[in-house]
Symmetry: C2
Subunit: 271 residues, 2 copies
């Protein structure tokens, strides 16, 4: 059986994509990972389509220069807007986006008549989740809601407590009264609020884990294409690059990744 020992490239506007790296490392411990977080220009979710497309291409250029075998778009905003642009720029490089992966996981649920998607302004405005869901099942009622305060709340580490609850209530109050069947946390920062959000909703609401869904998508792609790494052939590489504040990334990585990273390098993108 053929193998491909090159690493998987993962990028995000910042640290959030580490939730996807965590899921990848748990599911595919033999695979190497090269991660890029564009911390100098984050957030992406409040910016325009044109600017997001430009940033996405520049991030992908960086990873392509590191000989990756696949491009994992961990950022929901980029995954919502830039997949066609990335396909044009890198037709030979397989691209797996967190949005399509989350939609696939949602469609596998038994109860999914009414779905709520929480995301950044850019993700919600792109209507990406609804469009992808309706390609398979137009009968799903999809409501999307932009929650711009969630990212700074998570970055401040305020994921529980009175203020987090006030912010969540501000956005979700109408949903608490009429809860959906399933909730997609359509931004890699939001999973850190999962427990606090879950505590405020009826237990019947199923929360889709996009990071795990994304790792499952990658696993399937690699297996189907004979592109998995040879087990035990070599210690899998794990490289972390950011465009700003490597020290802060180093500290916060543990919160997203569940363990410390060995090393973080600062790079300029575009180079």
């Amino acid at each position: 059986m053929p193998h491909d020992n090159r690493p998987i490239g993962v990028f995000d506007s910042g640290l959030g994509g580490l939730t996807v790296v965590r899921a990848l490392r748990e599911r595919l411990p033999d695979e190497g990972v090269v991660y890029l977080g564009d911390t100098a220009r984050l957030p992406y979710g409040t910016k325009s389509r044109d600017t997001i497309l430009r940033f996405a291409r520049e991030d992908a250029d960086f990873l392509a220069g590191h000989e990756v075998k696949a491009l994992v778009v961990a950022c929901n905003t980029v995954s919502s807007l830039a997949m066609p642009a990335l396909e044009l720029a890198y037709p030979q490089l397989p691209r797996i986006g967190v949005v399509a992966a989350g939609v696939e996981a949602l469609l596998g649920l038994e109860r999914r008549k009414r779905v709520l998607v929480l995301g950044t302004s850019a993700t919600v405005n792109s209507d990406s989740y609804r469009r992808l869901i309706h390609r398979v099942d137009a009968g799903v009622a999809v409501t999307s809601l932009a929650c711009p305060l969630f990212v700074p709340l998570v970055e401040e580490g305020l994921v529980t407590g009175a203020l987090a609850e006030s912010v969540i209530r501000h956005y979700l109050a109408p949903m608490i009264a009429a809860p959906p069947d399933a909730l997609i946390l359509g931004c890699t920062h939001y999973p850190l609020l999962t427990e606090t959000i879950a505590d405020m909703l009826p237990s019947s609401v199923q929360i889709v884990d996009s990071a795990a869904a994304c790792a499952a998508s990658v696993a399937r792609y690699l297996t189907e294409n004979g592109a998995t790494a040879e087990p035990g052939a070599a210690e899998p590489v794990e490289r972390y690059y950011v465009t700003d504040m490597p020290a802060s990334f180093f500290q916060l990585a543990q919160r997203f990744l569940g363990r410390p990273v060995a090393r973080v390098d600062k790079v300029t993108v575009p180079e």
Copy 2:
């Protein structure tokens, strides 16, 4: 008396600097203004010194290319960290920063023994306000507090109401019990929260208006150097440039400027 009809250059990471433009237009109606808001890379206040210095130089390069007679640094973060770097890059171009202007206004107050400075993480970490205040009066007790949720709150338009009050209380609770003599809103976004903040503090707390102080500094510089525009010589120019989302800038400008703008152009910085 000599005159200089070239416009004043003003820059900020985004829209907040428009509060300075508003003060400039009110105080100096004959002066032209060229404004740059780096909306593609905002916010600056959560980023590193090196990155802020690079962005500041690139923004100044853009304005210098527009033949401005002075450089107004409306961004507190840049004004806290990059004034020496801008002096090195543009020794011939007068530079007026909002931080020094705010400090001057504070020092003109009668009661100013205990001062609270609210700002971004980068501004607070730079310790710029305390250092400038202590150059003149080391007897002032300066407390600085980073309020990272204020910027997204203002950008969401949530400047009054229960959520704004929860966020303000989160940061200011200890200060509400032991109020300072004066409060500096050390970020151009924060003045939009002035009323809500003032309602939560005793009326004895004096709030320093950095935008008005900055306009006063510019007026004094121009007068002292014979560099004011000739009154009535020509309609003063007013140009607005942003690096992303001109339509959104166009809409939100009214909130910061108090009136609509005629036109906004999108540019790429660095060019």
